[in-house]
């Protein structure tokens, strides 16, 4: 018997660590991984609420989130590879071509 607030708290802290990764790191691959961590934190909250209510809807939503994350990673990594090919660097600080 675990109180659900523990799970929500863990999910919130994991989400925050992911958000910090997005803000602090300069490597786009690690920024991507942090986004995945945030998605996982949200999934954990979904599954714990589904478990509390005894319904399957939350689990099915997590399934959809996973497929969307897989699609996002495939396209995002292809974009990073293309950026590396054209600029020979993937530091996000140097991706300022649109800056006036």
């Amino acid at each position: 018997m675990v109180d659900i607030s523990y799970y929500i708290l863990l999910s919130a802290v994991l989400f925050t660590i992911g958000a910090m990764g997005v803000l602090v790191r300069r490597n786009p691959l690690i920024i991507f991984m942090s986004v995945e961590l945030m998605l996982n934190a949200a999934n954990l909250a979904f599954v714990s609420f589904a478990s509390m209510h005894g319904s399957l809807d939350g689990q099915i939503f997590v399934f959809f989130v996973m497929t969307v994350a897989a699609a996002e990673v495939a396209v995002g990594l292809a974009l990073i590879v293309q950026i590396f090919k054209s600029r020979h660097s993937i530091n996000v600080d140097e991706m300022n071509s649109l800056k006036g």
Partner: protein
């Protein structure tokens, strides 16, 4: 202190430590491996919560497919360690402050509102049999049929997009 709570606390410590390891390692490959461990820990959480299908999906899709793709790209680009560049002044501390604010707000809401009160019972025997899988399959193909089909189209579009993005141009302009 029940056995469930002890299990939860051990796993929570591992999950937080691996997430922080992902955030703090300088080497991108170490970050990816920390994240694999984190995903495996979250899969065990799903098992504790009585969601075996999601747990196995987590291991195969996240810890398997997605992280292998990440490791491939990290090694392909040789971007394990980026050279330090000029960062915005005070950005790290601003990010840390904002993170503390986010956690504090969440804790405050959890403590003050009592909105999500409930206990998670130990998953009963039903959830660890084929019956829960059967129920998920039935729900996916009846109630959630349209989202399921839309997801398949989304995966197709992502696949085509990834191929088009990384395709070599004919004539070798680059």
């Amino acid at each position: 202190m029940s056995i469930d709570l002890i299990l939860f606390l051990i796993l929570a410590v591992v999950a937080l430590a691996t997430a922080l390891g992902m955030l703090l390692s300088k080497h991108a490959v170490y970050s990816a491996l920390f994240l694999v461990l984190n995903f495996a820990t979250i899969a065990v959480f799903y098992l504790l919560l009585g969601a075996p299908f999601i747990a196995i999906s987590q291991v195969t899709v996240y810890a398997g497919a997605i992280m292998v793709l990440f490791l491939f790209v990290i090694m392909l680009l040789g971007s394990e360690v980026l050279a330090p560049s000029k960062v915005l002044r005070g950005q790290r501390w601003a990010a840390f402050g904002l993170a503390v604010v986010l956690v504090a707000e969440t804790v405050y809401l959890l403590v003050s509102r009592h909105a999500a009160v409930g206990v998670i019972a130990r998953p009963d025997a039903f959830l660890n049999t084929m019956d829960s899988l059967r129920e998920i399959g039935t729900a996916l193909f009846t109630q959630y049929l349209l989202p399921f089909e839309v997801t398949s189209i989304l995966l197709l579009v992502a696949m085509v997009g990834a191929i088009v993005l990384t395709k070599q141009e004919k004539g070798g302009q680059k």
